[in-house]
């Protein structure tokens, strides 16, 4: 019998609102797609604002009522319908809300809302604004699905959905060939990870019989450990590609080709952290596979350093931020690898705040200096745009992790502490990364905002851009106060929130680590000041082959190009006509040739014909002998 899809509309408010959280942006997107750009810009922005506002509102309400509700420590399950059911395999489209997904949902919807408001102003004059927001809202919907879905396969829908939107948005200004190429690159590289993710799911589904995350977490530990390890490695591979971790990081810097709000939303605040979120959700399984965890930590560790090194020599403001994103994601992976789920999630949240802020500020700058992105062509913007300067400074401080006053400080300290727990090498490397971070971001700050004018800024950032920046500035500072080490203040709001899901916060460490961790950013800022403080001569980027390599992502791009892309393409072009086809042509030619030969027997000379008859007879007589 045809099973009737089990649409269980929850009786509770949360269960009703949760699908709506996803549906709001989705509907906006569909409306924008169907109207096909015929809506005026104002209507579009209003629609987007309303849709996203509702989305964020629903998210907040449902979060509130969940936390105050009866099962706030557990999870709330909303089954929408049976997706597919073949044999004993079932996949459902179901949403589940627990404290982890709640945090992520809030980040996505609220930060998303802010960025979209900002984008309304940023993109107002673009003729394709409707398309832009169609993609953006679709992205938010996909991201929310990724966050809320209860079944890994449904997570994968969101996972690929955000990938597609990312592709579409990177290539939003498709008129430039380079943008479209960058978009394709981003999609294909993350697709490598997606394939690994898919394989991991197949493995888990076969081993466990379901992809439902609660079931996975419950039944998964009983699976053979090799299976589990392999599965975790595969999922880690998928997560890494999405989060632009070494060695699958090459797409992220190129992804800056998209409009800046895109970079803020997708390539800083939300999508790239999906991997972190996924691993955190599966931490129950992850923790059982030390090899995968170690690999995760190493990947994070390497990425921190490589990306920070690259960021140090970039000239494009957005690329600096892109590398910094990679580097910061590296911290999260390091934390995950070290089993510090809280730390990873906390850094995820604070990073979302300050990196979105940085991108918005950078976007404002770019918009006001005629789409100039080279920092060496800017300068002295401090006076032209004081508010943007302030916002950027706050973001930079948080990124650098200036002690006490920034959100980044607290989240980073949490990671450093847990890294030290696992290995001092991790700790030292991460610390060095933090040092580099403060250098490169303040290099950017000093070059862009101090010194003489090298470009002319115009206009003002409107309210729609300023307000989100202001809110995020506050969050970039105050967000950290949710969770403080005992040495400073006994505030554990964040870890308490997540503990029911992620387990208790591990033991804290002495203050010595904390002090070292606090001094390093300050040292970095000082060095940056000595190197790039305003001088009479305009600063120029240092040039040497080594630096060029560093700037080009340590040569990863070239390497991949040489060993993967080019051989693949060259061979494909060589074989464009398909050698198998040629083989059939050969057969055809043989047929034709033998036909010619046989036809040539008919020389028209009757003697020869008779000769063949006689020869045939002789041959047949030979059979008889």
């Amino acid at each position: 019998m045809t099973p009737i899809p089990a649409i269980v509309w929850g009786v509770s408010l949360v269960a009703t609102l949760l699908p709506l959280v996803i549906a709001c942006p989705l509907f906006v997107s569909i409306i924008l797609m169907l109207t096909g750009g015929k809506l005026p810009a104002r209507a579009t922005t209003l629609l987007v604002g309303a849709g996203m506002g509702l989305c964020a509102l629903f998210a907040v309400i449902s979060a509130y009522s969940f936390l105050t509700g009866p099962d706030s420590l557990g999870a709330l399950h909303v089954v929408l319908w049976n997706w597919m059911q073949v044999g004993n395999f079932t996949a459902q489209i179901a949403l589940s809300l627990d404290r982890l997904s709640l945090v992520m949902m809030l980040v996505v919807s609220c930060v998303g809302f802010l960025i979209l408001v900002y984008a309304c102003a940023y993109m107002y004059d673009d003729p394709d604004i409707a398309r832009f927001f169609a993609y953006m809202t679709l992205f938010v919907a996909s991201m929310l699905l990724l966050v809320l879905a209860s079944d890994l396969l449904a997570v994968f829908v969101g996972w690929e959905g955000v990938g597609l939107c990312s592709y579409l948005l990177i290539g939003f200004w498709y008129g430039e060939q380079a943008n479209a190429v960058a978009a394709r690159k981003a999609f294909v590289v993350t697709r490598v990870g997606d394939a690994l993710f898919l394989l991991g799911m197949l493995l888990m589904a076969t081993a466990v019989g379901s992809l439902d995350i609660p079931t996975l977490l419950a039944v998964g530990p009983h699976a053979p450990s090799t299976t589990l390890t392999l599965g975790m490695f595969l999922l880690l591979g998928g997560a890494m590609a999405k989060s632009a971790q070494v060695p699958l990081q090459t797409w992220l810097p190129d992804a800056m080709a998209g409009p800046t709000p895109v970079s803020a939303l997708i390539h800083a605040a939300t999508m790239v952290t999906a991997g972190v979120y996924l691993l955190a959700r599966l931490h129950g399984l992850f923790v059982l596979t030390p090899a995968a965890m170690l690999a995760c930590a190493v990947v994070g560790f390497v990425t921190i350093l490589l990306a920070a090194g690259s960021a140090l020599v970039q000239t494009d403001i957005k690329r600096i931020l892109a590398y910094s994103t990679m580097s910061q994601l590296g911290y999260m992976y390091l934390a995950l690898g070290c089993g510090a789920w809280h730390a990873a999630m906390f850094h995820l949240v604070t990073h979302a705040f300050f990196k979105a802020l940085l991108f918005m500020a950078a976007g404002s700058i770019i918009l006001r200096v005629h789409h100039e992105q080279d920092i060496f062509k800017m300068g002295g913007l401090r006076k032209d745009m004081p508010w943007v300067f302030t916002a950027f400074l706050i973001g930079s401080a948080a990124l650098a992790g200036l002690p006490l006053i920034t959100a980044g400080y607290f989240s980073k300290e949490l990671i450093l502490g847990s890294a030290y727990e696992v290995s001092p090498i991790f700790w030292a490397g991460a610390l060095f990364g933090a040092f580099l971070t403060s250098i490169y971001i303040f290099r950017c700050v000093f070059i862009v905002f101090w010194g003489g004018h090298r470009t002319h800024a115009h206009g003002r950032s409107g309210m729609a851009m300023a307000l989100p920046m202001a809110i995020l500035s506050v969050l970039a500072i105050a967000g950290g106060w949710m969770e403080m080490p005992d040495a400073i203040a006994n505030v554990h709001i964040f870890s308490n929130l997540l503990s029911p899901v992620l387990g208790a916060l591990p033991q804290e460490h002495g203050t010595s680590l904390l002090i070292v961790g606090s001094l390093v950013p300050i040292a970095g800022v000082t060095i940056a000041w000595t190197l790039w403080r305003p001088r009479d001569v305009a600063p120029t980027p240092a040039e040497s082959p080594a630096i060029a390599t560093l700037r080009a992502d340590w040569g990863f791009d070239t390497l991949y190009d040489r060993i993967f892309v080019r051989p693949f393409m060259v061979l494909a072009h060589l074989n464009r006509r398909d050698f198998i086809d040629r083989f059939y042509d050969l057969i055809a030619a043989l047929t034709q040739g033998s036909g010619q030969a046989i036809a040539r027997l008919q020389s028209g000379q009757v003697r020869r014909y008779a000769g063949w008859i006689a020869a045939g007879t002789v041959a047949a007589l030979c059979l008889a002998v």
């Binding site: 006689a614 020869a615 002789v618």
Partner: protein
């Protein structure tokens, strides 16, 4: 063994070999007549006097004469003879020679293995016996053979007739 039969056979073979190698058609035809006469003698030896007579009368007498007529009508001259000679140059013989030799070898090999007992042979099958058989069980084939000849007649008549502008 019958020496006479062998002798006639040798004559027939020799004459035939000469007949097919002549350059002048009339010479060839004359050797063919010799061959046919030798064959007729063989028929007689084999106890078929009626067939021997027919061989001489119809074959040598009628068919070969037909050939002679045609040779006369076509009237081939000296150049043709020279050309015929040229065609016999060495290489032309190899292929046909090999095939014919193989054919002969295989068939002789086959017939040699046959142990043909001489049954009631020796008593000739005279014209009367042939006549009775021909007009007895085979009467219908006689009837049919008339249509064979009719077909040959009509064909030859039509082909030989001039049609079109030249007439």
């Amino acid at each position: 063994m019958n020496i006479v039969l062998e002798l006639y056979g040798l004559i027939a073979i020799g004459a035939t070999a000469l007949a097919i190698t002549r350059t002048i058609p009339v010479h060839g035809l004359l050797y063919l007549v010799v061959s046919l006469l030798a064959l007729a003698c063989m028929f007689d030896e084999l106890g078929a006097p009626f067939a021997a007579m027919l061989e001489i009368i119809v074959y040598a007498g009628a068919i070969i004469v037909l050939f002679v007529f045609v040779v006369m009508m076509i009237n081939l001259g000296q150049p043709d003879q020279l050309r015929e000679k040229g065609w016999f140059a060495g290489g032309a013989w190899i292929g046909p020679g090999v095939i014919a030799a193989l054919l002969m070898g295989l068939l002789v090999y086959g017939t040699q293995r046959s142990t043909m007992a001489v049954g009631t042979a020796g008593t000739p099958i005279g014209p009367q016996q042939v006549g009775l058989t021909l007009y007895g069980p085979y009467i219908l084939t006689v009837e049919l053979s008339s249509f064979l000849l009719l077909a040959g007649l009509v064909s030859a008549y039509h082909i030989g007739r001039r049609i079109g502008g030249k007439s």
